[in-house]
Symmetry: C2
Subunit: 290 residues, 2 copies
Amino acid sequence: MDKLRAIEWFVRLADLGSFTLVAEHAHTSKSMISKEISRLEQTLGVRLLHRTTRNLRLTQAGEGYLPRARQILNQLSEADNFAQQLQQTPKGRLKVNVPMALGITDLGPMFAEFMQHYPEIELDVHLSDGDIDLVEQGFDLGLRASSQALDSNYVGRPLTHFSYHICAAADYFDHHPAIIKPSDLRQHNCFEYSYFRSKNTWPIDDGVVINGTLRANSVLFMLAAIRAGHGLGMVPDFLCRDELKTGELIQVLPQAKKPQLTLYAMYPARHFVPARVLQCIEFLQQKFNH
Amino acid sequence: MDKLRAIEWFVRLADLGSFTLVAEHAHTSKSMISKEISRLEQTLGVRLLHRTTRNLRLTQAGEGYLPRARQILNQLSEADNFAQQLQQTPKGRLKVNVPMALGITDLGPMFAEFMQHYPEIELDVHLSDGDIDLVEQGFDLGLRASSQALDSNYVGRPLTHFSYHICAAADYFDHHPAIIKPSDLRQHNCFEYSYFRSKNTWPIDDGVVINGTLRANSVLFMLAAIRAGHGLGMVPDFLCRDELKTGELIQVLPQAKKPQLTLYAMYPARHFVPARVLQCIEFLQQKFNH
DNA sequence: CCTATTGTTCACAAATAGGAAACAGAAATG
DNA sequence: CATTTCTGTTTCCTATTTGTGAACAATAGG
């Protein structure tokens, strides 16, 4: 039995509450989890989980074992990080969370180059936009665009700044009235981005309540609708700069006060940060500053 | 790789300073140790030990990894003890250190009976008399006869008391002068026990300096010499009570002031004491009090 | 009452562990 | 200086263990 792995799985089991989920998460079969947990229980001589077919709950022993197991795993990764910090060439798995749109446009090529520089680092990139817990999901690094303060559980380093543009297709205004002042937007089909904190209010000047026929959780998807001339969207500059240059898209209200977005590289605040994480951040910083 | 075991071996390696010794200690081959440590170093990406053929020393990484490894192992055994404490029937390995002579005479039958009562407990009995570090050697329980205070790292529970007798063979005095007062001993062949703190001084009244032609680190061996009529020895009562009863041995200076020995059951002071340890102590207490 | 989904068990294929011996390097020995 | 005698590493082979997918038993929900 690999006791450490058994303990890891036990902790996951307590968190997720299902053998099947843990098996998926650990890329193995549920029979494996079952056997390993049973073996752990056997060596301890105590049942850690009370299992009925549809429900899992910790036994008294499991209840007490769980926090200790957590601490052991934490200290182990702390020790590993310490050791790896002293090594020369960064290697190992680097699990990164990246915003969907930015990941596809700008970060894709950057990470490709990063891989070339550090061939010993095994990249595990997850594209997603929702607010997820980096630690819980086991991310070493997360890139997040934010206009507000950061969670103090993480260390955040600003990489670059973005601004928003309100865009429409060039031919959109052939059939729609012009937009002179922010309140004109209310007469138009303004798309809503699901992950905006202020759902149907665009943060222009004092805020403009908009409404439209599209709501999407992907700016890329929204961009397609804008290019098709179906309405207006508020998109970050890195997504529309090419189209604005070619004239395919037109910016509206360029002088209006729009929020500045900062892209942060965030990593869990720990005693020893793996070299590969710091190297990656530095690499990105250099790329963005160039 | 069994990472936990690798860490254990690494700690042992740092303590003992030799692959060969660790291999013996762990009941495995040195190739195993070598391979496992190498694998650990590989996953960490750092060399933990700098090895030359005749000398081992920790690298900078190893120096920092060692205390963390120690802590992890401690917390793990703490967690295991916690879990096992909640279990009903005690089981698992119980490694006991027992004084040589007492182990052979009185404790042998007691432990035999103990095994019968708790068939799930796997006994690992080490007979030895020297002062050894229970924790370092991995003992769960140590039985020690002592007349003085105990190390505060351990919890000690008194089991029973012993007294010393000065004995000689019955026919010894056919050819040697009688002994009336303690100072008469100086004219006799008095055997010396290696582990006595006051080497060649017997703790009778104010202490009597003795000399003789035998020095041994085994009271049993000494007893054989006494029975053969070669001289006198100071032996604990449990070793000579049968011979005194049959008259084979004769006690000398019975009214002299001799030290009282207390037999302690000692176990490492930890947060959670395994059930099997407590059960064993209770069993022995009962046996001695009966 | 049936279906869907859970965790456990089983049997077999694949991978791994473990040990003996050969090996290579360095210190002590004469 | 050659030799002996330790050290830790490597190699190779077998026995053990691991991991998987399918069948299984058990339970909650429709």
